[in-house]
């Protein structure tokens, strides 16, 4: 990809991850861990958001997901039902 497209993509990814952390979609202890998120964890977080917003579960920051993230909303976190976290919590 041309360099500008690549950096635009990175920015979207970064912004998207920040949104998911801010609104409670990341199964981590803290926002301070943002740099340490694996790709798998990112896909899971995106899918959780897509499930909450009733979007197709692509696991990618596709245009519908981004569009939804840009909608005006309340600043409080979204509390996800326990089963949304799949086996992750049981394992721990």
């Amino acid at each position: 990809q041309p360099r500008t497209q690549r950096s635009a993509g990175t920015n979207i990814q970064k912004k998207g991850m920040k949104y998911l952390m801010e609104f409670g979609y990341v199964n981590g202890p803290s926002l301070e861990m943002e740099n340490l998120m694996s790709e798998e964890a990112q896909v899971k977080a995106i899918r959780r958001f897509q499930a909450f917003a009733n979007l197709p579960l692509t696991g990618r920051l596709d245009h519908r997901t981004i569009e939804w993230m840009e909608k005006p909303r309340c600043g409080n976190k979204d509390t996800l039902p326990e089963d949304t976290w799949g086996n992750e919590r049981k394992k721990r």
Partner: protein
């Protein structure tokens, strides 16, 4: 519906306006807010009573405020669009408070802008103990749904949620306006103030290293420096060699203040950064950085807000080698290379689970562990678990570092 886990133990709640938005006439804002409360009181036993005059302390269960960007709660607003408002679940201090982003164009009866009634009714749902629902069309759905009919009735999902918390009510309730006298100067307030004054007086001419709390503790080139008033003590690896205090100005030449709020050693160039009030100073070893103004530079130069009174603690977290600045219940990540705070801060200190606020100091000791200091005590922090080791203090500062018993 989703219940947050906290609820009010009473049904007669109070609310207060801390300010109004300039977008809408304040009488209209009041009417809309009453209507937003009525949405919830119509289906439960809840009543909402307005407190007209208040003090600086928490004087109403739900305090309503319009604010822009950084507004002293660790959750800054983001300018026009996206985040419109937020509210805290029931509880002490900020619990129950509802904040509205004043960068939005608030409207009451127009199709343009953001409808205050809908947002307020949603936020009061949080203030009463409801979390976001994933049911589209419910009031507690996180996304803004626009202006609704004048005769709005609470959707079934929300009715069930709130009735689960506060029971069912058949007849209508409306908020009652009651004038409550200002309780500023209550006995409790006075006692607290007196205690603070006594503590301050006791610190005058202080030289005792065993009985007091401290202003700042940091590690510089392997040694621990403990600051109190115009003095500091130096704890060298292996213990404190000399328990007598040293004047700050005797060591850091030309330091103009009579105490410090926070100190830390920067990774790059090992320069030492001092904070006092809304100013900061940079030292290279014992000397103030060349051409540094003696009165200090403003904290705003570091990207901190203009109304920030002081920094309580500054420390480099060993876990990620990043530097953090703490003030009251908020903190910022500080980029030493840019000499500026990272863009999406401040954040709430709650992330550092169990750390007491406001802090006096925080630092990393020779054992690699992070310690948070408040009063005469310290708390050991478990970095990988992002929480304090124990809720109660791990120990006493004087006993650990000042050879006191």
């Amino acid at each position: 519906y989703v219940i947050s886990g906290s609820q009010w133990e009473k049904t007669n709640l109070t609310f207060r306006f801390l300010n109004y938005s300039p977008d809408v006439k304040f009488t209209k804002i009041r009417t809309v807010i009453y209507e937003a409360f009525r949405v919830w009181s119509q289906v439960t036993h809840l009543t909402f009573t307005e407190i007209m005059f208040g003090s600086a302390k928490k004087d109403a269960d739900i305090r309503i405020m319009f604010a822009q960007k950084f507004h002293h709660d660790g959750y800054p607003f983001d300018g026009p669009g996206n985040i419109l408002a937020h509210a805290f679940f029931p509880g002490e201090n900020k619990g129950g408070d509802a904040h509205f982003d004043d960068d939005e164009n608030w409207t009451v009866d127009s199709d343009e802008g953001v409808n205050l009634f809908m947002v307020a009714a949603h936020e009061f749902g949080h203030a009463l103990g409801l979390s976001h629902s994933k049911t589209p069309g419910s009031l507690m759905y996180p996304w803004y749904a626009g202006k609704q009919s004048k005769y709005y009735t609470l959707p079934k999902d929300d009715v069930e949620g709130i009735q689960k918390l506060y029971g069912v009510k058949n007849s209508n309730n409306t908020p009652v306006i009651v004038l409550v006298p200002n309780h500023e100067g209550s006995k409790e307030d006075k006692d607290e103030k007196k205690e603070e004054e006594e503590d301050e007086n006791k610190d005058e001419g202080f030289v005792d290293n065993c009985t007091h709390k401290f202003d700042a503790i940091t590690r510089i080139r392997g040694d621990v420096y403990i600051f109190k008033g115009k003095y500091f003590w130096r704890w060298e690896s292996g213990g404190m060699k000399d328990s007598s205090p040293i004047l700050i100005t005797q060591f850091w030449y030309n330091y103009p203040e009579d105490s410090v709020d926070a100190v830390f050693e920067r990774k790059k160039g090992s320069k030492i950064m001092f904070f006092k009030g809304n100013k900061y100073w940079l030292y290279d070893a014992n000397h103030m950085e060349k051409a540094w103004p003696i009165e200090g530079r403003p904290l705003t130069e570091l990207g901190l807000p203009a109304d920030l009174k002081k920094i309580d603690a500054a420390f480099t977290w060993s876990y990620n080698k990043r530097t953090y600045l703490v003030s009251d219940d908020m903190y910022w990540k500080f980029d030493e290379n840019e000499n500026y705070v990272v863009y999406d801060y401040p954040r709430d200190m709650k992330i550092w689970q169990g750390v007491p606020t406001p802090l006096d100091a925080a630092f990393q000791f020779n054992d690699g562990k992070t310690y948070f200091i408040k009063g005469k005590h310290y708390w050991e922090f478990l970095d990988s678990q992002m929480r304090v080791k124990t809720k109660l203090p791990t120990g006493n500062i004087s006993e650990r570092w000042m050879q006191c018993k």
